[in-house]
Structure formats: C-alpha cells, structure tokens
C-alpha cells in the first residue's frame, strides 16, 4: 500500500485542484505505468474489492516553515506490516522494556517478514503517534545515525541483539536478520511509554523528492 508524506512549507499555496486527488492520481499513474500490482481493496472487512488503481494511498501532511514541499513515498508490503506490533509499556519498564519488545517482535516475525528486515520503532507520544513514528523511522536512510546519542546507542544494541537471534535471510539461519533499527521518539505522558515496532522486508522501497 502506498504511504505518502507531504511536508509542506507554510508559504506554499497549492492551486488548480485537490492536493489529495493529485497524490492519488500520481499513485495510480505510477502503478499502472510501471505494471506494479494493484494491492488495495475498497473495504477492509466486508467487500474487499480491488480498487484497480492501488488507491487510495495513506497520506500524511505536515506543515512546516519555509517554501518547499517534500514528498516521501513508501510502497509498503504487508507480509512485514502484519508482523508489526504496538505496546503501551509502563514507564517502570524502562529501556529494557523497549528493547525486549523490539526483540520479541522480531522473533515473532521470524521468516514471515522476509528477513533481513528493516525495523522501524516509534517511542513516546500517544498510541497512534508512536505507530506513526515507527512508520517514519522506516524511511530514514539505512546509513543514517540517530541524532540523539542514547537512541543511537539503543539502535545499535538492538541491531546487534537481533542479529544474534539466528533467524537469518529468509529465515534460513545466520547472522543477518536485520539491516537496521531506526528509532524515532517524541515526548510522552507521565503515565506512559508507548512503543510501536513497524517491520519492513529487505526491499524497503521508498523515495524522497524535494520540490
């Protein structure tokens, strides 16, 4: 399913039609023009009829300062999406709680998520925002480093421990179970510590353009 983030400078003004419609038209043209698979059904529970356009996309917009528009797109596969989990950890669980939940999620995913996987983690905010951050973490480049020293350390530790799980490429054992753990974080409530883990397969298709 196409996930599109639009980071829009507040000095930008769109003219000539609906922004949402334009994004969906772009998704449709990309999928039809490149003979990609139409993977979206109209209704999740009842009808489940293929929309034949791979739309609608999941679209997020964020308004920031400036006059640029940044478009990021991920073509998210669902074998790995289905292995994703969220837990409302208690503050007392601390960093161990976060680490354990990430490892447990990867272990449960095992061969199902087409390892070596990319692990996106969102910590903090609210339940929904942690999940959003986990998806954002998946489009951060694999060679990027977390700007925060403690989270950078946690990313490294988690990756190291994941690669000792002996799941390996396609679940055939070995040292390479994940390529990267990316963690995004946000302040949260005094009573909580939401942790969301969004898994991606080794392909991790995504692209970013700046207008």
């Amino acid at each position: 399913m196409a996930v599109v983030w639009l980071t829009i400078g507040q000095d930008v003004h769109f003219t000539g039609g609906s922004l949402k419609a334009a994004v969906n038209k772009g998704v449709e043209e990309a999928y039809q023009g490149s003979y990609l698979r139409n993977s979206v059904v109209s209704d999740p529970v009842f009808e489940r009829k293929n929309t034949l356009t791979n739309t609608p996309a999941v679209i997020y917009t964020e308004i920031v300062e400036g006059d640029q528009v940044v478009i990021e797109c991920a073509a998210k596969g669902f074998g790995s999406e289905n292995c994703s989990r969220i837990k409302m950890c208690k503050p007392a669980e601390g960093v161990e709680g976060v680490r354990d939940f990430i490892l447990e999620t990867v272990k449960l995913a095992g061969p199902n998520a087409c390892p070596p996987m990319v692990v996106g983690v969102g910590v903090g905010g609210t339940m929904d925002y942690a999940a959003y951050l986990a998806k954002r973490a998946l489009v951060r480049p694999l060679d990027s480093e977390n700007e925060n020293e403690q989270y950078r350390q946690l990313e490294r530790e988690c990756l190291e421990q994941i690669n000792q799980l002996n799941i390996g490429p396609m679940g055939l054992k070995g040292r390479t179970t994940a390529l990267k753990v990316n963690i995004e974080w946000f302040p949260t409530h005094i009573a909580g510590m939401p942790v969301a883990v969004n898994i991606n397969c080794h392909v991790t298709r995504h692209k970013k353009v700046v207008l």
């Binding site: 039809q32 034949l52 074998g79 998520a113 679940g171 392909v203």
Partner: protein, 177 residues
C-alpha cells in the same frame, strides 16, 4: 540442485527433505487469501473446485500486471501463514504441496505429515526473477479477484527449497541442523 517434473508424485513427496533446493518444472496453480476463501465457500456448498487438487501444487502469489512483451509479471511468494486456516482441508483433498514463505501452523504441519505432502519456500523479494521462470500463464477462475485470481502456470526450473517435509522435518525449527 534436484530437478523435479510435476505433478508431484508420492515418491517425490516422500523423498524430499527439509533444506533441499529444488527446481520445479510443470504446472502449478496460484492462489492466495481471497482465492482460498472462495475455494472454502465452494467446498462448503458442495461444489467442485476450479481445478483437481490431486498431486498438484498451490503457489501463494499475487503477481503484478504483465508488462507488454513479457510472459508474466513479477511473482514472488507471499507469507503462507495467512492460508493456514484453509490448508489442512485442501491437503486432505489431495493437494501435494504449497509454495510460499514463512511459518506454518501445527495443524498444517500435521496435515502435511498425514498426507505425505511438502511445503516449499521461494525467495521473497526475488519476484521479478521468479516471474521469468513462468513460461505460460492462464487465469482459470475468479477473474474478478485480479491479482488474486487462480492462474494455471507452466514453470520451468522454478527455484524453491523444502521448508517442511513429509517426515516432519522443519527448516525453520530452532534445532534444525
């Protein structure tokens, strides 16, 4: 690498072992989530299935659209686990094997042993390459399901490995050597 001509005979099914790499040639059928649901509905209604399951293989795949000038699109395996609820019944009706990726339930494993069947895995993410091994493709049922329709594929040297064999050996088991 072992080459096998389909349909998958009982002799082949009994001889294959978890971990073995195999090249399959012959006919396989595609079916994933929605097609399995439809097949279950047909069976519940006492109606015949779109193809005879005996000695056949189902490939869990939803191919891309076929680009002009090509025989078939990208066709990588999807996670087999979602089909677990339907699989034991199909195995009991004569299905010889499945191609997918990922873990299977205990009920599926027992049905594989009971029916001397085989669960193969193909390499996920290598769909474009796997699609090139399809030499002929024809939609035979549920065309409205688009990518999820049942297709009859003729494949040549289609690369898979044995994940769970008729003797109960499991490639994904932690103690598998």
């Amino acid at each position: 690498m072992k080459k096998i001509q389909l349909p998958l005979t009982m002799e082949d099914r009994r001889s294959l072992r978890a971990g073995e790499q195999v090249l399959l040639s012959g006919v396989i059928y595609t079916a994933r989530d929605a097609a399995h649901k439809r097949m279950k509905e047909l069976l519940d209604a006492g109606a015949p299935l779109p193809f005879d399951l005996k000695d056949q293989i189902i490939y869990y795949v939803g191919p891309t659209q076929t680009p002009p000038g090509m025989t078939f699109g990208s066709a990588g395996p999807t996670t087999a686990t979602r089909m677990d609820v339907y699989t034991p019944q199909l195995l009991d009706l004569g299905l010889a094997g499945m191609i997918g990726k990922g873990k299977r339930s205990d009920a599926v494993k027992q049905a594989i042993i009971r029916n001397q069947a085989v669960y193969f895995a193909a390499v996920g993410g290598a769909g474009a390459l796997l699609g090139l091994r399809v030499k002929k493709a024809e939609t035979i049922a549920f065309e409205d399901l688009q990518s999820e329709a049942i297709r009859r594929l003729e494949v040549e040297d289609f690369p898979v490995f044995v994940c769970f064999d008729s003797q109960g050996n499991d490639l994904y088991a932690e103690d598998f050597e």
